[in-house]
């Protein structure tokens, strides 16, 4: 009993020391508490409008027919597109496109109206600006919707001319009705898809950056030993140090995670159909895995400024490798396995599925298990890294007398 009490006291002491170390460094507090909240706020603000609306396009109408004008009117009526220019020829529209005044051109050839009148297949052309995926998506989807509507209208006219009426026309126009249901993010918004992933990534990355600064400073100032209670500096006891430190980070990050992942999603009206209890249960192993992972890596950071470069470099790589943007099933196998190194990959996937898609913990058990395995593995690597730091006297004080100063407790 006494032994267990002592062990808990050790862990408690280490956690206390680590917390005081964190709160004595203004930069780290800034990163842990302010940056973690600030980044999501910026992203949520920048991507506030979710979808691309009212994209300007030009219509080049060589046919000047009722049908082509009706098509253009319908285009103008869609939420994504607004017809800002009506050009006389395609060359004019091309110049406008090059000046980035329009993002698409719809062209009706001279015979558009005649062909419809002759019951043949008329042809319209759409030229899309491909400089951004969202331009293409918006222009194409709205034009396709108008095309479908227009086709059904003309078809109905033609069947009526062929002598069918009422319900029988409808039967011919659309023998099978197709409904589409866009699940989870009904408007297909960019924010609702990207920001949940960023929320999780921000947690891991600010943790990494904060720790880099903390560990880098202590190494630059040669005070690695000073941050560990004297009685715990022997090799076998380093598990307690690792665990105690992790507790300190966890105490700070658990509330941050709840604010980010549960409160902010509700505040900004991001998707949040998941059960908050499942979200909380899921982020515990994620946070622990991320903490031990960062502890392992940061032990080898000699210089805190170098840590920042690593941080920004990997932030970009990690968001792409997580599968939130490019589907995991289409990644080369090597990169898929590579992504398994980072807790953020499974953290992001699990969170999106619980929070945005309403999955239960049972449905993300694969991610959950991987995160637990990562927690265990990185716990040992973090302890090992600490052992190496102390054993090989990397970043320690040369002056022994100072490390023997009375400790806090």
């Amino acid at each position: 009993m006494n032994r267990i009490y002592l062990q808990i006291k050790d862990i408690w002491d280490v956690a206390g020391m680590e917390l005081s170390r964190i709160f004595h460094d203004g930069g780290v507090v800034l990163l842990f508490c302010v940056a973690t909240l600030l980044y999501p706020l910026i992203f949520a603000f920048v991507y506030k409008n979710e979808c691309v609306r009212e994209l300007p396009i030009a219509v080049v109408d060589d046919s000047q027919s009722v049908e082509s004008r009706r098509f253009a009117h319908k285009l103008d009526a869609t939420p994504e597109i607004i017809v800002t220019f009506r050009c006389n020829n395609i060359e004019e529209a091309r110049v406008l496109m090059q000046q980035r005044l329009i993002n698409g051109i719809v062209y009706f050839p001279r015979d558009y109206g005649t062909k419809i009148a002759e019951m043949q297949t008329a042809r319209a052309c759409l030229f899309c600006d491909m400089s951004s995926f969202l331009y293409y998506r918006s222009v194409l989807s709205s034009t396709s919707a108008v095309l479908l509507d227009e086709m059904q209208f003309i078809e109905a006219e033609r069947y009526e001319r062929a002598g069918m009426t009422g319900e029988s026309t409808q039967q011919m126009v659309q023998p099978i009705r197709v409904d589409d249901v866009k699940l989870y993010v009904p408007n297909g918004g960019f924010t609702s898809f990207l920001v949940p992933a960023l929320l999780v990534l921000v947690l891991q990355q600010t943790l990494f950056l904060g720790m880099c600064v903390l560990y880098g400073t202590s190494r630059q100032q040669r005070q690695v030993k000073k941050s560990i209670p004297l009685r715990l500096q022997r090799g076998g006891l380093l598990f307690r140090v690792t665990f105690g430190r992790a507790m300190a980070y966890f105490l700070i990050y658990f509330p941050m995670a709840i604010i980010n992942l549960i409160l902010l999603t509700r505040l900004f009206n991001l998707p949040h159909i998941g059960n908050p209890v499942h979200v909380i249960l899921f982020i515990i192993p994620f946070l622990l895995a991320a903490i031990f992972f960062c502890m392992t890596i940061c032990s080898f950071v000699r210089n805190r400024d170098a840590g920042i470069v690593v941080f920004i470099f990997f932030s970009i790589i990690l968001i792409f490798i997580s599968g939130a943007i490019w589907p995991q099933c289409n990644m080369p196998r090597f990169w898929l396995l590579f992504s398994y190194i980072f807790p953020s990959t499974h953290g992001i996937n699990g969170f999106i599925r619980i929070n945005s898609m309403g999955a239960t913990l049972d449905q993300v058990k694969f991610e959950f298990l991987i995160l637990i395995i990562q927690t265990i593995v990185y716990f040992f690597t973090a302890s090992g890294a600490l052992h190496i730091l102390l054993r090989f006297r990397i970043g320690q004080q040369h002056d022994v007398s100072e490390s023997l100063q009375p400790q806090q407790h």
């Binding site: 011919m172 589409d180 009904p186 297909g188 490019w326 898609m357």
Partner: protein, 406 residues
């Protein structure tokens, strides 16, 4: 006059020479950053090598179990975009599979669909797609929508044939309007040129920005010897120090572009040379911003932090992923303080619309204007040096090298 020019040139050369010697003896940073750049090129180009996601897993909920539903299944499997990985009996199973991310979309064919088709009772089939994963969801939806439309057309065709219409009339009846879609400068709707043509130069620029800030802070901490080498010419000392990196990173970025536009065949309509000029100017603009940051923020750590924030925000605000025109008002204008945005706009103009130097003149001018930021930065650094009394000490400074020589 010419001798003054020659002297300035010599000062630049001396500073650059000194920096090259430093790089040769302490190659750690530059090696790591170069490896980082190479890694990111290899990573991104191999990660999305498919171009457009293919064979996305989808499912069919086949409650009908008829000739029609099975044929739809087969035809879906035969498309390039999707692959039917499971056929379920009910909606719940499919939704569960979707929440487990085994499928990106599913098609539900209710009981009695085929019968209703035969009786002209217009049955409804439903496509469910997962928009929480935008790429997977929208690409699989696209394939499903196309296939259901074709199925519809097939039924119409069959009926009209039996009514005795000839093929030409049938064609006109079931497809009165056809839309030719021309995705300009990216005919295969490849996802790579969207992202990589800007992200990768962005990463190169970011690395260069961080390196510039770090090296300049080193310079400010101990400027004497370098100033001595350049006979006290501050401008030559700073830019001369940065120029070897400009050359090296420009080389990397241009080789990177060669790989993208040459080896990987990303479309480019304009001249590669103009794009390379824009690239070099973009990198110089970033270095100038680095000088400005160092001038504004004396504290090393803080300037690196601010540099990191500035550099990463460029990715969001340059507007290549989410169009700048759709951002809230202020943010759109804010984007213009990032050289990456101007590079992106110049790239679009050159590669997509075959723009000439004249047409991207505005962006070139802005990138050149960024160089002014560098001059302001140097003025600020100069002010700080005078305040710290560096110039006074410099007057009495004798280089240890000259001592050794004597």
């Amino acid at each position: 006059m010419s001798s003054a020019l020659y002297r300035t040139f010599r000062n630049y050369m001396r500073s650059a020479q000194r920096e090259l010697r430093m790089v040769v003896y302490h190659p750690r940073y530059i090696t790591l950053l170069t490896l980082g750049v190479v890694f990111s090129y290899v990573f991104f180009l191999t990660l999305m090598s498919e171009g457009q996601p293919e064979k996305l897993p989808i499912a069919v909920v086949d409650q009908d179990g008829s000739f029609l539903s099975r044929r739809l299944c087969h035809e879906l499997s035969a498309t390039q975009g999707v692959e039917v990985v499971a056929v379920f009996d009910n909606h719940l199973q499919a939704r569960d599979a979707m929440q487990r991310l085994r499928i990106f979309a599913f098609l539900e064919i209710p009981k009695g669909t085929y019968n209703e088709v035969l009786q002209f009772r217009r049955p409804t089939i439903t496509i469910y797609s997962n928009n929480a994963y935008l790429l997977g969801g929208s690409f699989s939806y696209k394939s499903l929508a196309t296939m259901t439309k074709l199925a519809c057309g097939a039924v119409q065709r069959e009926v009209l044939r039996k009514k005795g219409y000839d093929e030409k009339t049938i064609g006109g009846l079931i497809q009165p309007v056809e839309l030719d879609t021309h995705p300009l400068a990216n005919p295969t709707v490849n996802y790579q040129p969207y992202i990589l043509t800007t992200v990768l130069p962005g990463i190169v620029g970011l690395m260069l920005l961080m390196l510039t800030i770090m090296h300049l802070q080193d310079w400010v901490r101990n400027p004497y010897e370098r100033l001595y080498l350049c006979h006290g010419d501050l401008m030559a000392s700073i830019w001369g120090k940065l120029l070897p990196y400009t050359v090296w990173f420009s080389l990397m970025a241009i080789i990177g572009n060669l790989v993208m536009f040459g080896f990987c065949h990303f479309p480019i309509n304009g001249s590669f040379f103009t794009l390379s000029v824009a690239m070099v100017l973009y990198l110089l603009a970033l270095q100038a911003m680095g000088i400005l940051l160092v001038g504004l923020i004396p504290e090393t750590h803080m300037s690196i932090c601010i540099g990191a924030i500035y550099g990463t925000l460029a990715f969001t605000l340059s507007g290549f992923s989410y169009p700048a025109s759709s951002m809230p008002g202020g943010m759109h204008a804010f984007g213009y303080i990032f050289p990456l945005r101007h590079y992106y706009l110049a790239y679009v103009n050159i590669a997509h619309f075959g723009g000439t130097t004249q047409q991207i003149l505005f962006h070139i001018a802005v990138l050149l204007a960024f160089m002014m930021a560098g001059y302001i930065g140097i003025a600020l650094i100069n002010k700080r040096l005078s305040r710290d009394g560096v110039w006074k000490q410099f007057a009495e400074y004798k280089s240890p090298l000259t001592h050794a020589a004597q």
